[in-house]
Point group: C2
Chain length 319, copies 2
Amino acid sequence: MRRSRDVPLLVERARAGDPRAVARLITLVESGDDLLPQVAAALAPYAGQAQVVGLTGSPGVGKSTTTNELVRALRSRGHRVGVLAIDPSSPFTGGAILGDRVRMQDHATDPGVYIRSMSSRGHLGGLSAATPQAVRVLEGAGCDVVLVETVGVGQAEVEVASLADTTLVLLAPGMGDAIQAVKAGILEIADVFVVNKADRDGADATVRDIQGNIALSERGPGEWRPQVVRTVAARGEGIDDLAAALDKHRGWLVEHDELRRRREARAAAEVEAIALGALRARIGSLRDGTELPALAARVAGGSLDPYAAAAELLAQLGA
Amino acid sequence: MRRSRDVPLLVERARAGDPRAVARLITLVESGDDLLPQVAAALAPYAGQAQVVGLTGSPGVGKSTTTNELVRALRSRGHRVGVLAIDPSSPFTGGAILGDRVRMQDHATDPGVYIRSMSSRGHLGGLSAATPQAVRVLEGAGCDVVLVETVGVGQAEVEVASLADTTLVLLAPGMGDAIQAVKAGILEIADVFVVNKADRDGADATVRDIQGNIALSERGPGEWRPQVVRTVAARGEGIDDLAAALDKHRGWLVEHDELRRRREARAAAEVEAIALGALRARIGSLRDGTELPALAARVAGGSLDPYAAAAELLAQLGA
């Protein structure tokens, strides 16, 4: 499967629901293969077919259990569902996440569900640069909803929000630090707060905290007011409310022309990132030539300043 | 001081030892001012005049106290010394670092010492992108040694090493986690390990741990073997040994032509980063135009794929 003429065939098989073709396409986009532009071209027509839902939260709040139950609820409504679980590259959490993946095997034999773990491979913030393309693969495969699950560590929350139509932020009672530790930006990125493990002590206080923060944040009359949903995902409780909140947010996005706006902003960021990556690769290719080392030697020797050297380098690129 | 014809004058005053001119030049390079290329051109001849020493370690190991004592030792040898303290942008550590700065005021009235805190302003890894230029300002001002102090959080250690001729990694006994938590790369970046607070219980064990790790790491016959120095910086103990270790490393760098190699590699990385930043700015300028939004709308609508859109964007740039 290295020849470019096989790409249309692979996309055709993914369209027909062949899970191995879906897996191969995601592997292709994840590996940054030379065929990536061709894969992207073949998938372009299916952009925007799915509701992309980001799901983030600290370790231990029950992300995988919630995802698992949400998949079940969406399946019972007849939706095809894709799940992209972004594994942080940190070796310290890898084990736990592999454990979580096992639980997700509830859906392993369901042909209407695609589940894929992706590494974040050094990409800062925990979201793989390949994620937008992987979402497109799942849209091409006919998914109505794509869930992108990531551990909420710093930048990742913001990144998952920039990728998603709807962002869920999971919290649990007794992790009061969750509220305090979250960066100031979390209120702006969460479309729906999920207070999981809501049967535990402190659930009311957690819900009150969030609602207090929502009330305090300034919001125009046409703006979305984040919903707060209580769940006990381990017992399947509150999941229908969560699915309803997703529907409600989706309706609001469409009604306010916000879906189009978000997706265009997302596409612009993606195009920029690809363009920048291409330029970085071209500059990188000069590293092995004689030009950059020669310029660097002049800078280190004091006969050229780095800005003038950069200008010469760009001239080499025709840029 | 906004007119370009003032830059040569400012550099001349910095050369003559005017601390306000030094401060203004660092402010200029830190602000990313339009005059930056001109400042860089004026400073280019002074590149490589100073030994650049990176100093990193976890919070609480005594970085500022050690820096303070090291400055005292270098001054007593007649060196002019510059200190760049990179403040991590995190609000959680800001307070402590401001406190540390106060201690550094031991040298506030010494005309042979320049001390400057720089923000890391969102630059990932904690080292400001302006740091290499700020080092050049201090070299221009006649510093023989420039100390770059940064909190060792993840990427910052590696960045400070890429900037420095000699990298000091500070540890303290009773912070055994320091050893365990450090990323695998720390042995490769440290030229000198400083076990500070060496009068405390566990100092011997910490020294043994480090020496054990050094012994285990593979090293060719011509390679530098990291030194381990014990200090009690708060009492000024071991600082002469530390200064001697710096001299020894400097001698090794020169003898093995490694100083030239490191500085050329550093210059190459800096030139690349400036070139990439310039391209990023050019792409960013397209964001406000009509072209990128138009391409993004086509990508979001499915009539164009993001790779083809990126190629069109680069064609707009003439790249």
